[in-house]
């Protein structure tokens, strides 16, 4: 696959235009990223500044222990509420967030913030309870517990706030469990949805007791704006838009094809699909309308470039849900949320493209390759695709890759062999040395490529490292973290 001609043809107009669009998109993405991040930091700073201005710094420094603890409680409560709202925005599938960061990164940021928010809520509850207990002359653990009991049973708002805290703790607990794969996705999801209730339940006590929320007309307006904006984002992008899209396009299964052992492709047809803004490399959350599958939405990437008439996904039967896909009947209705994901050629600014896929991660890569070939956005020979599998029987869509590669004289390297610990490549491929050196031998001019990779998480981190070491700058490496 190292057929390098000395005299390459100049990139033709189609390619040049595609690359120019990439430059423009990157510029737009930088601007929007700056704006979004500045807004996020700005809300936090405003909240903290407002607290300090209202005498927060005075309360933190002087006053008795009770007043100080209460001040800490107020501050942590304010910051936690702000972070909670940011988390909701990150999970709300806002298109700008998705296009700039990709859903996988947005949700990762959501998880990281969650690790801060929930401890902050607990600090808030703890300091407020102890601070009030001291104010009421109650001391010790028992005194604080009595105070807590009195607060929770006293007025309605604090009971709601306690429920909110309990929900947030439960959400954190289940998220830790799901990370350890000890809990089913469906249960986790149900518990996670209570986050909306938890946020709403926290609001009454903020308005009735939280003087920092109501200190002035400005702060009240500020918080109400935040609440309304976040609620509207969640309602529209997370709930209504998917319903609107699903109804508008009325997707139905047309056929289910077995690609290889336990891997099926589902082809769907719908109305006005040409007007659905979706790119190769993106994914939807799919929900098949059958009694067994309706309740679970699964994220699967398109395995073919969208052509305006059909959509195709390719699924490996892992869980029982995935295997129920095999029995889908043609005509079954399909509900979708999406498209999501920034794993597209939108930000491509380099002529040469390297696509790396492992296992079922081949699906979005296959779609990207098809787009590059059919749209003629790459010159012949400029695309290299590396397909890694543990076993020759696990190479779904391999024939299609071969056909596409042949159309435009691109390169396909199929690397089959049992997994090697600490390496992304099979034994012996590309000679000896580190993964970076071997990849450089496999792909000439590796450092000049725009790199796309998709596969199992550990494999992706190994490849990511190797590609970085081989000289590809971070902004030219694109990946899609699969799964939830």
């Amino acid at each position: 696959m190292t057929s390098r001609n000395a005299a390459r043809p100049r990139p033709n107009e189609r390619v040049r235009r595609a690359l120019r669009r990439g430059v423009e998109f990157r510029r737009w993405r930088h601007r929007v990223a700056d704006l979004l991040e500045a807004l996020a930091i700005g809300t936090l700073m405003l909240v903290v500044a407002q607290f300090l201005l209202g005498g927060g710094s005075h309360d933190l420094l002087s006053g008795d222990a009770g007043a100080r603890l209460t001040a800490i409680g107020r501050l942590t409560g304010l910051v936690a509420m702000d972070l909670l709202l940011l988390q909701l925005v990150l999970a709300a599938r806002v298109p700008w967030v998705d296009r700039v960061y990709g859903m996988d990164r947005a949700l990762k940021a959501h998880r990281v913030l969650g690790r801060v928010t929930v401890p902050l809520v607990l600090v808030h509850v703890g300091t407020i309870v102890v601070g009030y207990a001291i104010g009421d002359g109650r001391t010790g653990v028992f005194g604080s517990l009595r105070e807590l009991l009195k607060m929770v049973t006293g007025g309605g708002d604090l009971l709601l706030a306690a429920l909110s805290t309990a929900a947030l703790v439960a959400i954190t607990g289940t998220s830790v469990q799901i990370a350890r794969r000890r809990m089913s996705y469906e249960w986790w999801h149900v518990v996670h949805l209570t986050a909306y209730a938890a946020t709403v339940l926290a609001i009454p006590h903020e308005l009735s007791l939280g003087s920092d929320f109501t200190a002035s007309a400005w702060t009240r307006a500020y918080w109400w704006t935040l609440w309304v904006v976040v609620a509207a984002s969640v309602l529209w992008w997370r709930l209504l838009l998917p319903v609107v899209r699903s109804t508008r396009h009325g997707l139905r299964v047309t056929e289910v094809v077995e690609e290889s052992d336990g891997v099926w492709s589902v082809v769907m047809r719908g109305r006005h699909l040409d007007r659905l803004e979706v790119r190769a490399g993106q994914f939807f959350n799919w929900r098949f309308v059958t009694p067994r599958l309706l309740l679970a939405a699964h994220p699967w990437s398109l395995s073919a470039a969208p052509d305006g008439r059909t959509l195709r996904i390719t699924i490996r039967g892992l869980g029982d849900h995935s295997s129920a896909i095999a029995n889908l009947r043609p005509g079954t209705y399909v509900l979708v949320e999406g498209p999501y994901g920034a794993f597209t050629t939108e930000a491509r600014v380099r002529r040469k493209v390297l696509l790396l896929a492992a296992g079922i991660g081949v699906t979005p890569v296959r779609a990207l390759l098809e787009e590059l070939v059919t749209e003629r956005h790459a010159l012949p020979g400029d695309v290299t695709i590396v397909y890694r599998a543990n076993d020759p029987s696990q190479l779904p869509l391999h024939d299609e890759l071969e056909a596409l590669v042949e159309l435009a004289d691109h390169h396909l390297a199929t690397l089959v062999g049992p997994p090697v610990p600490g390496s992304s490549l099979p034994e012996g491929v590309g000679g000896n040395g580190s993964d970076a050196e071997r990849l450089r031998r496999l792909v000439p001019d590796l450092a000049q490529h725009e790199v796309y990779l998709c596969g199992p998480p550990q494999w992706m981190s190994l490849v990511h490292q190797a590609v970085r070491r081989a000289g590809v700058p971070g902004p030219h490496i694109h990946d899609e973290r699969f799964g939830w």
Binding site: A38, A49, L53, G55, S57, Y132, G154
Partner: protein, 178 residues
Amino acid sequence: MRKTTSVIVGVASATAIAASWAAGLTPKHDAVGGVTLSAPPAPPASTSGATSDASRRAGSTSAAPSTHTKSGSRSGSSSTSRPAAPRPRTIDGGVANTQYGNVQVAITVTGSHITDVRALHLTDSSGHSVQISDYAAPILRKEALSKQSAQIDMVSGATYTSEAYQQSLQSAIDAAHI
């Protein structure tokens, strides 16, 4: 985030936080409760004239109730038949302002004993606020009567009302010289 933007955002944030920290060190109002006693209590003369004078002086007590003037009513009329017993006196406390409305209480003192605490006005900025007041007032009254002082527990969920209630109560007790 690009470098220039991070620097701008960082400097702006640091400035804002530092400025508000400095400004917050000397809060304009009582930082802890935000409760201020705007109308000092009536002198111990137990008549109502002074109280209305007090509420006139407090510019911001527009919400101060008209019940004010009634508070000094001759509550001792029925006890005149028993001259041996000390005459109960009614003393208005000051008006405590909170962001949720004003709080003012009146105490009835018989000898040196507080025999009753009545709320002349309670926090009422919203329906919710009224609810909280209705819930907290009986608890605060009971506490005040049993402790015979303003050193009463805050009712959680009604911090502002409790704080203001305490202050108004304290001013009434001070005025009663008991």
